[in-house]
């Protein structure tokens, strides 16, 4: 991990959540908002269908950032994100990022999560111990 420098890209994380992922995430997190698990409800409130939990996608960003620190959960010190586009199940999510700065053992990483051109998480800033 010693060779991390400002401007370096971080390894991309690619995940395609299956149709039932929002159900499992609802169970794991306790967030059973029907917009995530009930297509009829989601359509009734004007969505194309069920959407992914924003905090699930933030979980993927945390996973990618933790991996930069070697995978030990203690490495991730802070993570701040903005939720923008809605995420859809059965579509590949790509988490990518760039090292903004490295000072001593702390790196700040700018991260984005996207499905194609749709950036679902923007301005994500992770502070990782390296």
């Amino acid at each position: 991990m010693a060779d991390l420098n400002a401007g370096d890209p971080i390894p991309e994380l690619r995940v395609t959540p299956d149709k039932y992922l929002p159900h499992r995430y609802a169970g794991a997190s306790g967030d059973f908002n029907p917009i995530h698990i009930d297509p009829e409800f989601a359509k009734a409130v004007g969505l194309p269908s069920t959407i992914l939990h924003g905090l699930y996608m933030m979980g993927l960003v945390a996973r990618a950032a933790t991996d930069v620190g070697g995978g030990d959960p203690k490495a991730l010190k802070r993570l701040s994100v903005q939720f923008r586009g809605m995420g859809a199940p059965e579509t590949e999510i790509v988490v990518s990022g760039t090292v903004r700065s490295v000072e001593g053992e702390r790196a700040v990483i700018d991260t984005v999560a996207a499905q194609g051109d749709n950036q679902t998480i923007r301005n994500a800033e992770a502070e990782v111990e390296i």
């Binding site: 794991a28 924003g54 905090l55 979980g59 996973r63 933790t66 939720f83």
Partner: protein, 146 residues
């Protein structure tokens, strides 16, 4: 400026959550985390943890119960039909491990209006049974058409 801001500074009663080994496994599996420190007691201990350790974003699981009464408080008065989760931040301290009892308090730190939208900002503070800070969360909820 019809936005109600009376709830700024309000705090809600603390909630307590006991972290469990199988709940950590369930969360880690859904997010695709396969580091054995999340799944295997011996591996976690070998890595210096007291027991299997919760992934950082497990903070959602133990701190959300404290947010529920804040979000549904009529003094805050959010219109849920027009609400989206705009942003989230966590800052982590002591790791949360299986068996830990985590107490979280929620506070409304700001309510403001910009471009016809209401920005509701809450902070959660989570401490373990020893009084050590485990996580601090900042939750930004945005309500359109206020």
């Amino acid at each position: 400026m019809s936005l109600k801001t009376d709830a700024i500074g309000k705090e809600w009663p603390a909630t307590t959550y006991e972290v469990g080994k199988e709940k950590i496994r369930e969360y880690a599996t859904v997010v695709g985390l396969d580091n054995p420190v999340y799944l295997d007691r011996e591996a976690a201990k070998a890595a210096g943890y007291r027991d299997v350790v919760a992934p950082p974003m497990f903070a959602v699981v133990y701190s959300s119960p404290a947010m529920a009464p804040a979000m549904f408080d009529s003094e805050v008065g959010m219109n849920f039909a027009a609400m989206v989760h705009g942003g989230q931040e966590f800052e982590w301290g002591e790791p949360a491990c299986s068996g830990d009892e985590i107490t979280t308090t929620a506070k409304c730190v700001d309510i403001s209006e910009k471009d016809g939208k209401g920005f509701y900002i809450f902070e959660t503070s989570s401490v373990n049974q020893n009084g050590d800070r485990v996580a601090r969360g900042t939750w930004t909820l945005i309500v359109r058409g206020v």
